[in-house]
Symmetry: C2
Subunit: 169 residues, 2 copies
């Protein structure tokens, strides 16, 4: 949620504001992911990142439909939360030499990205219900479900890596 | 995860780094919550925030035990992610006049805070398993479970509010 919220007076305003917040987040994530994909040498992790990138495109297009349904132009609003999360992800990606340690750090950063989206879409789904915006709610529920699935995929990649390394000790 | 990660060479280094990251996050959250509790006029939300504050203290003390188990002094490391999330929470809290809209925004901000912790503790639990640090893993699992429970509580508060408002329309 951005900082310039003086104009938020109603739940409709707040809903639109957070819709813009998560739209901005999707765009920033889409810009950051290719640089992170380049860093990893794990094919499994690269594939997971690539599918996150594709899922993000679908999510952004669903958000554009949601804007349309509330008769607004798709627009982002600055969001320090996702900026901070991606700043950390880029910092980590640039600073770790060891490939396996880097992959673990990338995975962790992506899980934080994903949980941010889960929190935001979860909130928007509840608000859409409150505002009786059923069609918009359906689009946001689809984004929520996609992010929960992505989080499970990332956890599975992380879990397999952890098991392999624990077994190798 | 902070930005000064040049010294991260092994999984043990990365584990310690993220432990310091989430310790910093707990401390910052504990500093931010009282100001947010003041803003709300909902007793239900104030109670949820107060129990988050208590849970945070317990979580911080478990982290201190975890530092002890890995023979390190409890120390935070700068974390732009939680800084961004809390900056948004404070911005929203200061900028919305309507009480019900403010409460909805506060709830949303807290769910984002909580999901950040869920992501971090989830990561640390997996790494503790990989590093065969069973006792540390148990402490972190307890923090993970507490945050998942807190998220369910916040979702329940948000859901009840949403239902009430949808019914009132």
């Amino acid at each position: 949620v951005g900082l310039f919220t003086k104009s938020i007076k109603t739940m409709d305003d707040l809903f639109l504001h957070v819709l813009q917040d998560v739209y901005y987040a999707e765009k920033q994530i889409a810009r950051a992911l290719p640089g992170l994909i380049e860093k990893t040498t794990s094919r499994q992790l690269a594939a997971a990142l690539k599918s996150l990138l594709d899922a993000g495109e679908t999510a952004a297009s669903r958000l554009e439909q949601a804007f349309d349904l509330v008769s607004e132009k798709p627009k982002g609003t600055s969001c320090p939360a996702i900026d901070g999360i991606l700043k950390e992800a880029r910092g980590i990606a640039g600073d770790i030499g060891d490939k396996q340690v880097l992959d673990a750090a990338l995975l962790a950063a992506l899980q934080a990205v994903d949980h941010y989206r889960i929190a935001r879409y979860g909130t928007l789904v509840a608000w859409a219900r409150e505002l009786r915006r059923t069609a918009v709610g359906r689009l946001l529920s689809a984004n929520l479900a996609a992010n929960k699935a992505a989080d499970r995929d990332l956890s599975a990649v992380a879990g397999r890596k952890a098991d392999r390394k624990a077994a190798a000790r």
